[in-house]
Structure formats: C-alpha cells, structure tokens
C-alpha cells in the first residue's frame, strides 16, 4: 500500500527565497506578455535560453512548469488527464504532466497563474528525444507552428568536431529564423551580450560550487535545486548574474563562519536522478543520521558541467552550440561519468543515491554505469531504487525511506570500521 507522508524541503538561504520570487515574477511576466498580445513560445531542456532572452521572448518550459505544480502535489491530476487523452503511463511524467496541463479543459487556480497557451513551439531532441513527439501533440491541439531543433548525440566527449558544432549552430540559426517569421526577433548585439552574461553566470556558478564543497556543507541540495534555477532558466540575463552574485556572497559568509546544514555532519551524499519535487523533505530525511545531500546532478543538468571559457561572445551561435553538445546529459555517457566522478571527489561524497524515474528514457540508463564507474574510480558506493520525482501516485514513502535508512546505516557502519 502506498503511503503519502510528504514534507517540503528545508531551505537555509535567503537568496533562494529571492530566486523563488524571481521564478514567480518570470511566470507573471509571461502571462502579462500574452495578455499584451505578444507571441508566447513553448520550449524545452537544452534549447539555449540565451536565444530567447536575446529576443525578449516570453517562454514556457516543458520541464519547469510540471516541477512547479509538482511541488504543490498537483502533477498527478494533470498526468491523469494526459492518460485519458491516450498517452501511456510509460510516457515521461514531465511530458504527461505538461500534456495534461496543455489539454485540460479546466485548470487549478495555481496552475492558471503560470499556464499560457503557445503561439509557437521550439522542440529539440536534446537531451532526450521524447519531447519532440509530445510537443507535436500540443502543437496540433493549440494549432501552433512547430520547429524541431536537431542535436547530434555527443559521441566525441569534449572534443566536438567543427562539423558537428556547425550543424547545431545552423539549427540554432533555423530557430532564430523560425521565430522571426512569427514576429519574435533576436537582436544580434543582445545575443552577444547574452552569451557574455551566460559566461559570467557559469563563472559564478563554479565559484558557488567551490563554496559548496566546504565541510560542513553550507547548503543542502534542497537549496541547491532552487539555486540552480538561474543556471537553467536565466542564462544570458543580468538578473541571473545578480542572483548568483548574491548567492555567492551569502555562501562565502556561511563558509567563513563554518556554518553547516548540520552541526555534526557525518555523511555527505550525492543525489543522482530526479528528486521528489512533491516531497523535497525526503532530501532532508538523512539528516537525522547526520547525512547531508550536498549535491544533486539535476542542478547541473543544463550547463553546470562545462568550462565557461568555451563561450565566446563574438561567436554566439557556435558557443551556444558547443555548450549544448558537451552538456552532461547529451548522451553518450563519457561527459556524464567524468562529471559524477569529479563531483564525488570534489565534494568528498560518501555515497551516491540513484533514483529511477520509471518513465524516463534518459537518466535510468546511466545508473549502472555511474555506480560501477564511481566505485572503480573512488571506492564510493551507490544505492539505486525506484522513485518517480513527479508522479506522486507512484511514490511509496515507506519504501523510499527504508532504502535510505539501509544505505545510510551501511555507510555509517563502514565509516566506523
């Protein structure tokens, strides 16, 4: 039997509260733009945000809206609507949720604050192929023109050949042309400026990342996931840079004061896979044992794992293309595995928690490889268990906690030896 004993995650930072306000303000801005008759874009994961910001385009993102309503435990209702529409329960929970929001006849007041129908859709197969098809359904439903931005799979690691960068840069140019046809114009100087700001943002993120390595951990991943919002949604904006400057300042203070999430930190965990947005308290669950989730891979999923030196504002499209192609979630696995091993070392991680979202075609595929690679390179063990981070109907609180209990107890016992 499924129990649902959920709790919000505990946040420790003032800046993450500011970021939460910025999120709400962003959606209010999209809503306002629609009311003013501006065309609204729907887009997705790793389509470089800098392009949209350079066009001042209001955009709803497929992966973010479900997260927002997932945190309010409303996502199951909209998934149900998508399933009634004919979508299998094997379709990604994020997609199902977004599809449900897309076709719902009536929407909860909370969703209505954020939801705006599309005037055009920019889809991509980066990082996973699935959304291109679920967006097609929405495009039909809303009679919105649709552009598909094709990204090659990264089979080259960090040495991406010029012809692949050229191809994806051409796809980005195609996106710009498509948007222009619909009345959304990218200003070239603004795009260069967006790339410069994006570079600054990642430089700040890396400094933030260094602070977060401190022992005791100044923040847990509950704050980290909110803190990642500017990295994912606001690259190319001054707002993103400003928020990260404040975040860095606040973190530096905590580190100087040796202020940790826990006074007596015994274990440091890393989370791999989608955390339960409807029950972020689960990330605090291990704290009763002295275990802190110091890092979550999802925080780095869109641009957190690369060297900002690759961004050249004078070559904006090539820079954005390269950034997208080497992203840790553009399979194949090489960049992802390097990232995890480095993270485990840098953050002095004692154990990796891998959670499998049953309906995801992307992240579960890394689990065994990550487990073996991390163990071979660092000796750090991994636990893997099922947990759908968005579909509360599939959540089993007791089992999830039992999985964490047994893993943490084993880690503690191993430390005692």
């Amino acid at each position: 039997m499924t129990t649902k004993v959920t709790a919000p995650g505990k946040k420790n930072l003032e800046t993450t509260l500011e970021i939460s306000k910025a999120i709400r303000a962003y959606y209010a801005g999209v809503k306002l733009a629609k009311m003013e008759g501006k065309p609204v874009v729907w887009s997705y994961g790793l389509v470089p945000r800098e392009i949209f910001h350079a066009a001042e385009a209001p955009v709803l993102y497929l992966e973010h809206l479900p997260l927002m309503i997932g945190a309010k435990q409303l996502s199951g209702h909209y998934m149900q609507i998508a399933e009634e529409e004919g979508f299998s329960r094997d379709v990604c929970a994020f997609h199902r949720c977004f599809l449900g929001c897309s076709v719902a006849k009536e929407r909860e007041p909370y969703l209505d604050k954020f939801f705006v129908s599309p005037d055009l859709i920019v889809a991509s197969n980066l990082p996973c192929m699935s959304e291109t098809k679920s967006f097609l359904y929405s495009a039909d439903y809303h009679d919105a023109p649709y552009y598909f931005l094709d990204a090659p799979i990264n089979t080259w690691g960090k040495d991406v050949p010029e012809y692949a960068i050229d191809y994806f840069a051409g796809q980005l140019q195609g996106t710009i042309d498509f948007m222009a046809e619909k009345g959304i114009h990218v200003d070239w100087d603004r795009l260069k400026e967006a790339v410069r700001l994006s570079k600054k943002l990642v430089e700040l993120w890396r400094e933030i990342d260094v602070c977060r390595r401190a022992v005791p951990a100044p923040i847990s991943s509950v704050d980290g996931l909110t803190a990642a919002y500017p990295l994912i949604q606001l690259p190319g904006t001054q707002l993103g840079v400003t928020l990260f400057e404040r975040l860095l300042e606040e973190l530096k203070g905590k580190v100087e004061r040796k202020e940790g999430v826990l006074e007596d930190e015994k274990l440091r965990l890393m989370w791999f896979g989608v955390p339960p947005f409807y029950n972020m308290g689960l990330l605090n669950y291990g704290e009763k044992y002295g275990a802190v989730v110091v890092k979550s891979m999802v925080e780095y999923i869109a641009g957190g794992g690369y060297d900002p030196a690759i961004l050249d504002p004078d070559q904006p499209l090539k820079s954005l293309a390269y950034k997208a192609l080497i992203d840790i979630v553009n399979p194949t696995a090489e960049n992802m595995l390097d990232f995890i091993v480095d993270a485990v070392n840098d953050f002095k991680v004692d154990g990796l928690v891998g959670v499998v979202k049953r309906s995801c075609g992307l992240l579960p595929g890394y689990m065994r490889l990550a487990k073996d690679t991390v163990y071979e390179n660092t000796g750090v063990p991994t636990t893997i268990f099922d947990l759908d981070g968005l579909d509360i109907r599939e959540y089993d609180d007791a089992t999830s906690k039992a999985n964490l209990d047994s893993f943490i107890e084993a880690l503690l016992a191993s430390k005692r030896r």
Binding site: G86, K133, T155, Q171, A333, R368
Partner: protein
C-alpha cells in the same frame, strides 16, 4: 525444398548462413537499425547482419539496464552478454532512440568481445545541413569499415552495393505487392519471415531466392484470405507471433510497417554520381521511423500503405518503454483513425501476455 521454405528455414536457423560466410575468414558487421548504412559494410566485402532479439526472458541484462528500459534493447544486450553475438567482428548502432544511445554506452563499457560503434545520424530529415553533417559521419564510418576489412572502398564498389541492395528492396516490394490482392498470395506471417531472412543473409543469394519465391507464390491464394484486412505498425517486430495471432483470429495481415519489413524496402536509393551522398540522401530522405522529423512525411507514407493495401483496420504495436512509438501513438492514432479504426496494443517484447492480447485482437476484428 522450395525457395519459400528455404528462406523460412534461414529465418529459423540463421547460424548456417553465418558459418557459411565465416568459413573463408570473411567478416560480419552486426547492426541494430534501419539507418545503419549497410551498403558501406558490403562494399568493404563484409556481411551486414541485423541483430534481432529472442522471445526468451531477460536475465543478465536486467542488472545493467533498469527494467524501465526498452525490453527489446535489454534483450539485445542480454544476448550480447551471453556471447550470442560473438561471431560479429563489430557492432554498429545509430542515433535512433534514447535506449539505443544507452545500449551504445553499455556495450562499449561491458562487452569486450565485440567492439561497438555509433553512426551519428540526424533525426531531422530533408535538411541540407543535416546531409552535410551526416556525410562527415559516413566518411568516418567508411574509414572504420576499411580498417576492419583491410579493403579500400571504391566508388564503384559502393555503386555496386547500392544497386544490389536496391534490387533486394525491389524484389521484396514486388513480393509484398502480392498482398494487395483481394485474396493475398502470401500471408503476413510468411512475409515477415521472408523479409527478415533476406536481411540476414548475403544479398546476392537472397535476391535469387526472392525471384524464385515470387514465381512460386504469384498464382496462389492464401487460406481464409478474405477476412478483415489488417495493417500492423509500431515498434520493432522481430518475430511473427503477433501476426500469427491476428491471422488465427480471422484477420488478414495485408500490410505492415516495421523496420523488419516494409520500412526496410519501401524506398530505393535515388541516382547520384556520388555514392556516399546517395547513401546519405537515402537515409535522410525517408521518414519512416518513429524517431524522424517531420512526421508529415511519415503520415503520408502510412496513408499510402493504407490506401494501396485497402486496409480495414490498424493495429499499433508498442513494446513497453519503446519511447519513439509510445510517444507517437496518441498523435498518430488521431491521424490514422481518419482512414481506419486503430487498436493500440502495449506489450512486452516477449509478448508474454498473449492471452490478453488475443482477447483484444479478437474483439477488434469482430468489431471490423
């Protein structure tokens, strides 16, 4: 033994073909997917060999892939872990779905006996910049095949291979056309076996047998061939169990849209003085698979099948967690229902719930 029987036998026992090919030290390149350029492998003097799954339950692979990964891909990996593909000299995959992308990661990390290579094909069709990108990838693949075989691949060799493979496609299409008749000359389950066998064996030999089969069957009518005319489509279909089930329930499977049959042969290579470009355009100007864009071309192709084969009902077969087709099914159902009723079946690759499928298929056929 007639030629039809011979090909049926090769479908059941492909090992004989493998042994025959390998006895002179010739190499075999395994692949998984329609978009792997077989002609380049052949032009290097090697046998392109499509890897199919088995209905057997999965064992070792389940500790490497999560159970929510496509069962077909897990099945292929299971076979590779059991060394069933050790006769291959290399394995080639391409960029067609998230599960195959992970199969590449897994194969590369855990299967030492057979190296694995990924051909990076764009998923956007009919796009000139995609063709240019793909040509770079094909050149790299060609070099790999040259190194593996020790044979320089000439333009003439490529042209010969293209012509040979197109001949196979023409013959399969000709045989398939015998299913357009009011009473088809060949049953759907027979045809799938023939099609798959011809993919597994050297094309020089397959083409001879296909010509003979066309002569053998062209004047016959299949038994109980006047039932509702069914088209099957969806995920990869690598054994005829579901088709046989439809036939057993009184349906006549007159058309199918699988990468083991119609998708493989429906289109031919367009003439081009540059054979590498001909191959690139062949692969990027046929939108037959669920992973391709734009989908409008795919709908056109499927509508053509429905019309040509006078289809009464469509069964859309989804292997669980086969994402390109699982995602597509709701959209495509709306499209295809304008032509004929559609039944969506979501099931395991091993078709373990055959009893339930039977009930649903029976009800669908009765409704037709």
């Amino acid at each position: 033994m007639g030629s039809l029987e011979k090909l049926m036998d090769i479908f059941e026992n492909p090992q004989k073909e493998i042994d025959e090919w390998k006895k002179d030290g010739k190499k075999i390149v395994g692949h998984r997917c329609l978009y792997v350029p077989e002609e380049i492998i052949h032009a290097a003097g090697m046998l392109p060999y499509p890897t199919f799954g088995t209905p057997e339950p999965i064992s070792k692979a389940d500790s490497y892939f999560q159970p929510c990964a496509c069962e077909f891909v897990r099945n292929i990996f299971d076979l590779s872990m059991d060394k069933k593909f050790d006769f291959l000299d290399t394995m080639v995959l391409c960029n067609t779905c998230d599960a195959v992308r992970h199969l590449y990661n897994m194969w590369d990390s855990y299967i030492d006996s057979v190296p694995c290579y990924m051909v990076n094909n764009p998923q956007k069709m009919y796009d000139e910049s995609g063709i240019q990108f793909y040509l770079h990838e094909l050149e790299k693949f060609k070099e790999l095949m040259e190194d593996l075989s020790g044979t320089k691949i000439t333009d003439d060799a490529l042209k010969n291979s293209i012509e040979l493979f197109d001949e196979t496609r023409r013959l399969l299409k000709e045989l398939n056309a015998l299913r357009m008749r009011d009473i088809p000359a060949i049953a759907g389950s027979e045809f799938l076996r023939v099609s798959m066998a011809s993919m597994l064996m050297p094309k020089e030999k397959a083409n001879l047998l296909l010509k003979e089969i066309i002569d053998e069957v062209k004047d016959r009518e299949i038994k109980d061939g006047d039932g509702p005319r069914i088209m099957l489509t969806g995920s990869v279909m690598d054994n005829p169990t579901l088709i046989e089930l439809v036939e057993e329930m009184g349906g006549v499977v007159v058309a199918d849209d699988f990468c083991t049959s119609t998708k493989y042969f429906w289109y031919e290579t367009k003439p081009n003085s540059n054979p590498m470009e001909a191959i690139a355009r062949f692969n990027l100007e046929r939108s037959v698979c669920g992973h391709t864009h734009p989908v409008s071309n795919r709908y056109d192709y499927m509508n053509e099948l429905i019309d040509d084969f006078n289809v009464d009902g469509i069964i859309y077969f989804n292997i669980k967690y086969c994402h390109p087709f699982v995602y597509e099914s709701a959209t495509i159902k709306k499209q295809l229902e304008e032509k004929a009723p559609v039944l969506i079946l979501e099931t395991d690759h091993s078709l373990s719930g055959l009893g339930q499928l039977k009930t649903r298929v029976q009800a669908f056929i009765e409704m037709l």
